[in-house]
Amino acid sequence: MKLEVLPAVTLASMIAARELTSREATEYFLSRIRRLDTNVGAFISVDEEAALRRADEVDARLVAGEFSNSPLAGVPIAIKDILCMTGSATTCASRMLEDFRPPYTATAVQKLLDAGMVPLGKTNLDEFAMGGSTESSALRRTCNPWDPERTPGGSSGGAAAALSAGLTPLAIGTDTGGSVRQPAAFCGTLGLKPTYGRVSRYGLIAFASSLDQVGPLAHHVQDLAACLNLIAGHDRLDSTSLDVPVPDYASELAQPLAGLRVGLIREQIDNDSIDAAIRDATLRCQQTLSGLGAELIDVHLPHTQYSVPTYYLIAPSEASGNLERYDGVHYGKRSYGDAGSPSPLEAMIARSRSEGFGPEVKRRIMLGTFALSAGYYDAYYKKALQVRRLIANDYQQAFTQVDVLLGPVTPTPAFKLGEKSGDPVQMYLEDLFTVGANLAGIPGLSVPAGCNAQGLPLAVQFQAPALAEAKLLNVAHQLQQAEFFKPALAPSFAH
């Protein structure tokens, strides 16, 4: 049986019914990783022994009657290598943390473990999640399974690639400016960035604390819903996590869309930079929604044109502080300065950071340090906070008229490896349609929308008011039912 095409929840019910053991499912995906990941490079580390041990434990506990309320018990999952997990290195794809083994587990990962899920390994990412192509990873190059010459997107490129190559039934990523949604779009999977605070950030190695959020990637909407149900909720270890009850996301999937008000973000759909195939995909989506009884309404988000510059001041500013802890003193990479340097301590810190961080991380630390410096703070960081508020107000205004917003995820389908890595500004402009949700703290969902003429995946994005994830999942599920998209592996991995 081809397990990689089954919904994770189906896999879980087969395991629960003992038609299949968690060990068998885990072995199945481990063997695919062993066979196929050399061509993809999705994983930074795979601990087969730990995964199988874990699967055996879950099997035993399932037999003992545990996990009866868990919709994903026994199912393997891939974890982005920026979420701490005891027993494995958590590298952030950086030389700085290449050997860092955290003594604790991230809350989101712990919740998956508590629900009986089986981590297969840690997936590749842009170094410290800074990038949109996974090319800034210092440890691994990841290809897009749909076209090995193209990027899987980033920063959760390893997660999306693993999923679309059928190396895992489900993956966990993180999204600071589109890092779940954009790779999902490039790899033809679903990717959800929840509301800021919906999922605990404890144990998520910080890039930009006010924007980071953990989110699932999957092929099937019900899997996203089930996974979000597991990881969402208040955590006393994260003051910014929201103390709001978690709804049963699965139960709202079947809601008909009749009367749903869908806002078409004119600034994005009519944007000159967007690829014709993506615009067509958006139009097709409008038609499907219309057929399902939804009402389509034009809306404007006038300040979103400033979202990229705003994001590229706030995120690097926070990053410059968050990454100050990597000084070679307590953990991580340490390099000593030259003998006889006037301050051996400063030399050690400087060299550890020079050698430990890659160029994109350094660029962002420099940007953030500059933006926060005395004399520049008001003109850059403070101004960016003010614009952030205006962007959030735009969304708030739009959501008085509509229930969800429809637009593109990216201007283009997956670009070629190396195509933009020499031009940071081009790379940053990739984030045009995704950073808004992070700046406003609202949820966003990337939904597959077929392929272009070259067979590359296309996608559309839905955004909803804070905490309205159920609505996003409902819309996506209805689109899946209406066959607007069909869950699909990358063709060369489908057999």
Partner: protein, 492 residues
């Protein structure tokens, strides 16, 4: 105060460790003295991905302190990151408060050390909550310079209380700190133990001189490493004289030199320049996105007001106005802490005269506590017992010196009552006729003294009292003196 050709201007920054059992952002213990790096967790180690969670107890203690210092408590307060690299700062930034401190302007009044019945006032700029750093120990003597870091202290809650430069003498600086410490310990906000670093003070000092009708300010110096109140006073005396000498030599004013940092060398009794950072520090403060701003509610304020208890200034006033003590005496008692004040109040309430209770507490009780190493709570006599003894003295049933004998015996036999102690010591009252007989006997034995008294010289009466005590230790010395005088004047 001796007249100096300059006025000293001092502002103090005081770091107080708040008396929480756990750290500011995690559940690690704040207990002092544990082996290095044993009171740490991912949060205070600053491990990647760990997040701070505010200790509500620390916030409460900060609010309580602010209220006691008449500070304006912020409606909304937030936390900021102060970025700098240092090995004992594991996150690379300190979580502090930049532009919205929890406590705004306030003031502290305290007895003027030069004139205890007057008060001095120092205005406060702000008081904010922040986390402490760890400790670095540099072994610079060893050939291979070795540094060790202990992160037990990292994340301990501190309240930094910053004063205006309203202090104009080293003695006043010490008095300000003394009052601040008293206030904080009264409220249970901090143990203010300077040896353990629970209270640390830095002083900003310069001089104002009059020249050609204009006031000239000398460059400001921040004096660090002040490890005791005595050190604060000595350092400021030294530093002000040093600045004056420097002024005479260089004529440098505040506009000619940047703020300098000097450390106090207690053994040598001098301040020495500390290494300056190459460039002026830019801490790149920005709001910590991991913590949410705090809205202080009226309920929280009311609750902390209730928790404050009576404060030293109010108690001094009570001792002076209600009990009629002199400011000096009231200050001595209040300075001993809440336990001693409450003991005083209870002994007075049980019937003894306030002045006698004040004098006995200041001398006998405090000396005993000191000698035996007891706290007030460990003192064996209850207020009723001490009051009973002092009332007998008030009523001249026992004289002061026999009273001390009773006191000494009683503290070792606290289960006895006063009569039992008296009889154990053979103390009984002698009736009037027996006393007269005793005095007549004395006068007969000392004709010289009688003659002197008749000539108007009463000096010898003292030795009569001694002799009377030798015959009968229960003889009341006042009574002996009175009776002898009467008998001599009556011509025996």
């Amino acid at each position: 105060m001796s007249e100096k050709p300059y006025k000293i201007v001092i502002g103090l920054e005081v770091h107080v460790q708040l008396a929480t059992t756990t750290k500011l952002f995690c559940g690690c213990s704040t207990e002092f003295g544990a082996p290095p790096n044993t009171q740490v967790c991912p949060v205070c180690l600053g491990l990647p991905g760990a997040l701070p969670v505010m200790n509500s107890r620390a916030v409460e203690l900060a609010i309580r302190t602010g209220l006691a210092l008449d500070c304006k408590i912020a409606d909304v307060t937030k936390w900021d990151r102060k970025n700098y690299f240092y090995p004992d700062l594991p996150k690379g930034y300190q979580i502090s408060q930049f532009d919205q401190p929890i406590c705004g302007e306030g003031h502290l009044d305290f007895p003027n050390p030069d004139s205890p019945s007057e008060k001095l006032r120092v205005r406060l700029i702000r008081a904010h909550l922040e986390e402490d750093a760890g400790k670095s120990m540099h072994d610079e003597a060893a050939a291979k310079a070795d540094s060790r870091i202990d992160l037990n202290r990292t994340g301990t809650p501190l309240l930094e209380i910053v004063s205006y430069p309203d202090i104009n003498s080293p003695a006043a600086a010490k008095a300000y700190l003394t009052e601040l410490r008293l206030l904080l310990t009264y409220m249970g906000v901090s143990d203010c133990n300077m040896q353990e670093g629970s209270l640390r003070a830095d002083a900003n000092v310069n001089l104002h001189l009059e020249q050609n009708g204009q006031t000239i300010a000398t460059p400001i110096v921040e004096v660090k490493n002040l490890n005791s109140f005595r050190a604060v006073e000595r350092a400021l005396v030294y530093e002000s004289q040093r600045q004056y000498d420097q002024w005479l030599k260089t004529q440098q004013t505040i506009n000619d030199a940047p703020k300098q940092t000097r450390g106090w060398d207690d053994a040598a009794g001098v301040t020495v320049p500390q290494r300056e950072k190459e460039d002026s520090a830019d801490y790149r403060y920005f709001p910590d996105p991991d913590l949410i701003p705090l809205h202080v509610t009226t309920d929280q304020l009311d609750q902390q007001r209730q928790q404050m208890g009576e404060l030293p200034a109010a108690l001094r006033e009570q001792l002076e106005n209600v009990h009629g003590l002199k400011p000096y005496d009231a200050d001595v008692i209040v300075s001993q802490g809440r336990g001693v004040v409450e003991f005083f109040q209870a002994v007075v309430a049980a019937g003894a005269s306030a002045k006698r209770v004040s004098s006995w507490i200041q001398q006998d009780v405090l000396r005993t506590l000191n000698e035996r190493g007891w706290t007030m709570a460990e003192f064996p006599l209850n207020p009723q017992q001490l009051s009973g003894l002092l009332q007998s003295i008030d009523a001249s049933q026992i004289d002061n010196s026999r009273g001390r004998d009773v006191f000494q015996y009683w503290i070792d036999h606290p289960t006895m009552d006063l009569d039992q102690v008296k009889s154990a010591l053979g103390i009984e009252s002698i009736d009037q006729s027996a006393m007269e007989a005793l005095c007549q006997e004395l006068l007969a034995e000392h004709p010289k003294i009688v003659a002197q008294v008749l000539e108007g010289n009463q000096k010898g009466l003292g030795s009569l009292i001694g002799a009377a005590k030798a015959k009968n230790p229960n003889a009341d010395h006042k009574l002996v003196r009175e009776l002898c005088l009467q008998l001599i004047q009556k011509g025996l």
